[in-house]
Symmetry: C2
Subunit: 580 residues, 2 copies
């Protein structure tokens, strides 16, 4: 802000100059006293000037709010845009009409694939959106050393982006083992953020002295609380707790009983991972707020969790409230009841959504640096041969509706070459094909519970390193599925009897697409349906969602990466064969 702008703001506040906008006939939500009052609201240069007086000169534009409640734009305190499978511009189109005007995004999916090029793409693609996008520099790329990823971010790399004005800090510190063990490289990452005076986000499941150590390290937030005790333990240690309600993770209602009038200011809202379908059909942070109100939380408290509490936690002193000098990120709500709707949305004083319709023309950002990320070598059907020295093997057992797997056992059939051969059992091959460095690595394992028959499915979204993951019962279809993803530059595909039945393209780093969210949601539903109908996959299972967690070795109990089968109990790679 320069002197001229500050003077205009003050002059409008004092009634000496015309405002750009006057909103009238509204109830204003005061998040500081937590009360509602009736007043006009004056806006100039995208900022709130004040509440005015009758004698003020008329504004350039007057909007009749028709009795709406004016609340600050909602802030999502933690999320990954990549989880929506849509581009940042499209993400803005989906969430802004829901009332989300600021997000704090950790782009660790794309950074795992593209490194700082991915980070810079996200910066560039979020530069001029109606949605304010702040980025955290990912702390854990790669997530573990047990797989090949597309990038390696150490403290030095992190320091290259930490001072960017739209970077609020270090992304979720998933390496809690490293923090609690005080490992040198983890300490150095933390110290980069501390030195920059920025926030360090958490991701933690521990308690007791380990939680002391984790919070002593300076980690300020956690979105992984599952219980009331988790919430209170973290708040006690000065952490902020993010009440998560996304597509897959539903923690909000479990945590609310731990919140009371005394600790509410330490509670924020987040979605973490939200699919396009969820945003289109259910909403975004507005859904968190509605759910909280529905669960009996005072509406003003629920609104504070989605606004001023987040602004306070992340030092965003320019927003989060309807107060003079703050950004005019404003929502018109139809009521403060549990079924309120977001009627109008203003960001920085501009009208950007009305009745769930986005009023801004999306812009396209070049994806050159983050496309075609399929560096796969030595691909042939034979590479999917799973040669076994024993018929008694370990299998990855799926648990319905969960991303946790069970380490199971089975007796399988082998062909004349000693390779796994399909039988009547519900067991198929799963392979992780390294796609970043051209190592030619393929990690092979067996998976039980997918109920796939006569084909293959594949995806380039495979947390957190996002190699290609393919499941199938024959080498030809598995190889074709991977080839199809190479052709698309990433995505999802269903292959049967040597034919590609259906594909979804994720041309941005193999993770996202520039298509509209409604199309993405429709195509995702369609391809799941195709996989179910054509390959016999059970109706309750989203096979792509299932696959994309099969290589995430921080979630129990047994997973597979491009380096082989990984047992979390032993915290090491293990052979498939069981010695009898």
């Amino acid at each position: 802000m320069d002197r001229k702008h500050l003077q205009r703001l003050i002059n409008v506040s004092r009634g000496r100059a015309r405002a750009d906008l006057r909103i009238t006939n509204c109830h204003i939500v005061d998040v500081f006293n937590k009360e509602v009052f009736d007043s006009d609201l004056y806006v100039v240069d995208g900022l709130i000037a004040g509440f005015g007086e009758e004698w003020f000169p008329e504004a350039l534009e007057v909007v009749d709010a028709k009795g709406a409640y004016i609340v600050p734009g909602f802030i999502d305190s933690h999320l990954h845009i990549e989880s929506s499978h849509v581009s940042p511009a499209e993400y803005s189109r989906l969430v802004v009409p829901c009332g989300t005007t600021t997000v704090i995004a950790d782009p660790h999916e794309i950074v795992n694939v593209c490194g700082l090029d991915g980070f810079d793409y996200m910066l560039e693609a979020t530069e001029n959106l109606p949605l304010s996008v702040f980025l955290q520099v990912p702390s854990c790329v790669p997530c573990t050393p047990y797989e090949n990823s597309g990038a390696y971010l150490d403290a030095h790399e992190i320091s290259k982006r930490i001072d960017h004005p739209r970077v609020l800090g270090l992304g979720e510190m998933m390496d809690f083992v490293g923090v609690c063990a005080a490992k040198d490289d983890v300490m150095d990452k933390i110290l980069v953020a501390k030195k920059a005076g920025k926030v360090i986000d958490g991701h933690y499941l521990g308690f007791g002295p380990r939680l002391d150590a984790y919070s002593a390290a300076g980690i300020l937030t956690d979105h992984e609380c599952a219980t009331v005790q988790d919430l209170r333990d973290r708040i006690r240690r000065g952490m902020y707790v993010l009440l998560r309600q996304g597509t897959a993770c539903h923690d909000l209602l479990n945590l609310l009983p731990g919140m009371d009038d005394k600790n509410t200011s330490r509670c924020l809202m987040c979605t973490d991972d939200c699919a396009a379908k969820t945003m289109v059909e259910i909403g975004h942070i507005d859904n968190n707020v509605r759910m909280a109100i529905g669960a009996g939380v005072d509406p003003l408290t629920a609104i504070c969790m989605a606004t001023i509490n987040a602004a306070t936690c992340y030092n965003l002193s320019d927003r989060g409230a309807i107060a003079p000098g703050r950004r005019a990120d404003l929502l018109f709500l139809t009521s403060l009841d549990k079924d309120f709707r977001v009627q109008e949305v203003y960001t920085a004083g501009k009208h950007v959504a009305s009745d769930r319709q986005y009023l801004v023309k999306p812009v396209h950002t070049s994806i050159e640096k983050v496309s075609g990320k399929m560096n796969i070598r030595d691909l042939s059907p034979e590479r999917f041969d799973l040669k076994l020295s024993s018929k008694h093997v370990k299998v990855i057992e799926l648990l319905p509706g969960s991303v946790v797997t069970k380490s199971g056992e089975a007796y399988v059939d082998l062909d004349e070459n000693g390779c796994w051969k399909r039988n009547d059992e519900d067991i198929v091959k799963v392979a992780v094909v390294e796609r970043h460095k051209g190592t030619g690595n393929i990690g092979l394992a067996l998976i039980k519970g997918l109920n796939l028959r006569g084909g293959a499915i594949a995806t380039s979204i495979a947390h957190d390193s996002h190699n290609v993951i393919v499941a199938g019962d024959n080498n030809q279809d598995m190889e074709l599925a991977v080839r199809e993803l190479i052709r698309l530059g990433g995505g999802m595909t269903v292959v049967k009897n040597g034919m590609v039945l259906q594909s979804v393209q994720h041309e941005i780093a193999g993770l996202m697409t520039d298509l509209p969210g409604e199309v993405v949601a429709g195509r995702l539903a369609a391809i799941i349906r195709t996989a179910q109908v054509e390959l016999g996959i059970r109706g309750a299972v989203d096979p792509f969602m299932t696959l994309c967690f099969m290589s995430l070795v921080v979630i129990p109990e047994i997973k597979v990466t491009d380096l082989g089968l990984f047992d979390l109990k032993k915290y090491d790679f293990v052979p498939l064969e069981i010695e009898d």
Copy 2:
């Protein structure tokens, strides 16, 4: 913090290394959940490591708290050390045993006298104290253009100190007229603080659009609230309200009814101006907390106002709570009742006070740059002649127990030269003698209500420019009083019949002394008594406190500076004589 320190902290948290200190047998106050819990507390390198487990290695030192409540050290959010008349080191000795471990001080008194030399002295003198002293760069030096002060701080001068790590922002913006008028020079000062990302403190009595303008400018705090409405109006606009309880100003109890469970996090504690006597006899922020509890505020809420709320407002994320990673600024309270006592005080893990006794050896800071500040020229008894062209004159009328004056009228006697001559009326001369630039300026006026007879009193403390102010009924004693202050390098004095009866030396900028607070309080009491007994000043009036506000032209209704008599209604200088 370097890697080694962070690792040691984490290792102690995890029970892998010995702590410096374990506190046991205590109730710990959790300011985040606002609850009390029982646990040991581990400290290393001056930081809180955590709450430990029974199996932890024993600490180097174990302290039995004997059932005390452990609370974070208190934070005084706004004060002027100079008002205590003691040096910063002595201030620390007085307030730390009261439990104040952090203060946010605006050194605008000494900066008015010595400019940035005064600021640097305050920085140096607070460098290694057990008390954490943060300084605000004064925003209003001089306070007004209607007097000569020792310094002029514009935006450029302010920018020279704003980035100091112990500077939290810009001191109280008393020029609210300039803010609301959007004056260039005031805007520039505000923008210096904004650009540095620092807090701007307020000092304001307005409401309505003027308050909108003031808060829109980015001013974050106010300690001048007098009513519940003032408090709620400011909180609504995103400001923090400081509940003041000092020696002269007692706002706390008036404001508490405006605070409720919903807005309490926006309320802080401050003393503003606190005399040594008050600190010795009554206490400091502990007194604010006791008073709030006594008035029915939940003890944990009262403690939060003096701890975490202030830390949040001023971005002091390293303190304000008993939580891992924060500074071990700890108080042992005997109870959480309205009569609690501060039993033990630790700052940065060191035991610094016990049972109201300071355990630290005071250090002396060189006062070379801030002493001998009495640059007075052309002094002679005749300079105090008050020549009048009319017997009908304006007088400054004192109002008992107030710093506000009334613009009165009187008919006075004149001698053969047309100069004012004492008669039976309770009217004497008051003179402001410029002491910074050697201008030789003496501003003369008449004051009613002091009941002074047969002598003179003088002080070098005269808000905000701190010229010498002297009141008396004869030129000789008035001149001698000023000469005595020149000899002392500043202070207070009582003169009668050509003799100095008693003096107090303020060798630091004419505002403070290095003597112990108890001595200062005793000498102040004695010199007031002398003035009362020997010069007949009324028992209810503290003549020095009265005098020191006589040149502060921002307080109604009529004042005198080295440039003459100033009428606040006309906002200009006026002649003494009234044209009949």
